[in-house]
Symmetry: C2
Subunit: 322 residues, 2 copies
């Protein structure tokens, strides 16, 4: 899925961010408009993964097994989309990436917990995730449940250490609860085998996926002490790309291979899942994902900070191949 709006990857070099990985130092984030987006993604990913390594409890500390399972689950080379969005949103709102570091890590830990639980035999029963055996395949079901639980708690612990703790916890909890991720996952399970229903599939995707991506953007804004209008715009941007993200996930489950995707493909159809593709068809799904991207870009007006990363991220979400 290629889009004309996408800038050539090396049109112009980035302003070479000096990344230092020790806690406390500065991340140079002043990208030129024609940024090298691939390099930006790679640098952000590296920064986030180093910080996750710093913040997660050590494997050498008891309970070692649980800490190992948590780290195995988190350190699996995911896209890190939610933390990257959170940092970019903080900058777009006029703040710094550093101010949003803990919320960014919290989002990734929270997201990982949902994956670990979703992969369980009683849920989606997936053996492969990000190209590696799922947590319960390596550590057993009981430790996988506990590792998910501990990552869930750890996300809120990280947020409690932020100056804006109350607002951030409220934001994540709303996105995570029964009107968000947990509710979406419940709907998703219940929808298996039901006839196609456009309203229902939209509700599932909005809750299961878009709510947390919306929260990721808003949480970045909260860290930058953004005014309500900016928070609202970040939320709308996030909701649009969040829905687009899940639509593309459904598309890739049909069009991709396990090797490309790092997880099982064709599994949605085999499980008679209600997906965007099963409801709207492939072509219409592609069109709708593009429309959502265009809608997301419209919300990026009048920001005090740089919005180019958010623009590129919106495009990336829809054009990605895995």
């Amino acid at each position: 899925m290629r889009f004309p709006r996408r800038l050539p990857p090396n049109a112009r070099g980035p302003t070479s961010p000096q990344l230092a990985f020790e806690f406390g130092r500065t991340l140079n984030t002043s990208y030129a408009e024609h940024m090298n987006f691939e390099q930006y993604l790679e640098e952000r990913r590296t920064w986030i993964e180093q910080a996750l390594d710093d913040y997660l409890p050590r494997e050498t500390e008891p309970p070692e097994l649980l800490h190992r399972a948590m780290r195995y689950s988190v350190q699996s080379g995911g896209k890190r989309l939610r933390p990257i969005l959170c940092l970019a949103a903080a900058e777009a709102a006029g703040g710094t990436a550093e101010s949003a570091l803990r919320p960014a890590l919290a989002l990734e830990c929270f997201h990982t917990y949902t994956l670990v639980h979703d992969d369980l035999p009683a849920m989606d029963n997936d053996d492969l995730r990000r190209g590696r055996p799922t947590t319960h395949k390596v550590f057993g079901e009981s430790i996988a449940i506990l590792a998910g639980d501990a990552l869930h708690t750890f996300a809120f612990e990280l947020l409690s250490q932020c100056p804006q703790a109350a607002a951030l916890v409220a934001e994540l909890a709303r996105a995570a609860g029964t009107r968000g991720v947990a509710g979406g996952q419940c709907d998703d399970l219940q929808a298996e085998g039901l006839p196609p229903d456009p309203t229902f599939v939209r509700r599932i995707h909005e809750r299961k996926t878009a709510s947390l991506i919306e929260a990721s953007c808003r949480m970045g804004g909260i860290c930058a002490a953004a005014p309500p209008m900016i928070l609202e715009a970040l939320g709308r941007y996030g909701r649009a790309i969040g829905l687009a993200f899940q639509i593309v996930d459904d598309i890739l489950n049909v069009t991709s291979t396990p090797e490309q995707l790092g997880k099982a493909t064709g599994s949605d159809a085999a499980r008679k899942k209600m997906t965007w593709v099963s409801v709207f068809g492939l072509d219409e799904s592609v069109r709708m994902a593009r429309d959502l991207m265009t809608e997301a870009l419209r919300h990026l007006e009048n920001f005090p900070g740089p919005t180019e990363p958010l623009r590129q991220l919106a495009i990336h979400v829809v054009e990605r191949s895995r």
Copy 2:
């Protein structure tokens, strides 16, 4: 297990608290020293259960199934020890019970989530809890996992609505994480079949049970804006009765019947669990629980508010028969 320190249940009537169950009204908590403790417990339980009913998401609202599973899990007539301790701690620290209502409910929701997950087939595989089929027996494993997850999130959502959100979230997260409940549960699973180890069983019980009871007391103190010395005393009191509580649980698993207890008995031995009784023997366990109660009472000095409920609760924890 009867103790001479326990006051006769009807030595003197309570100051008849006027309980009104609608949100927003006042709870009269000025109990005389020779309070009617049974009545106090009953009134607090009723108040908490009514508030849980008010605050939990409605069954009539989607996702209905998940909301039903959450309510089924919470509304099972438990002892409500943690919320009762939280409210009593707030009052002992000179605050009101009302100020600690949300944290009290959060503690019960959090505690219920741990029970729902612990009962899962992959964990302790229990069919009976508080005299009723466990959540996964009624709703299936996947919904039970999700209901636990949603209650976990909901606890933090409730805390985010409190004036002391940051401190409360930090307190619950610390008690809940790998150095608390999640870590204790992991140790508990790993200890099955191991030879008796006094240090290890203490660590398990401190993490699995005492940490959350300690947090319950401290969170009440936080709501009352208690100074560090009072918070410290509340924490020590909570740690002592928390450990005593788990020791008594282990004792009752040996000495009680399923009818008395509302859950399986003898299961610890069948599962070769490392319990206080299996490590120290029955008589020594009873003695240690009593010593911990005495220690807990010692911490209740120099409080600005009434401490009699906390005194009675400490005794109750050790003398309970279920």
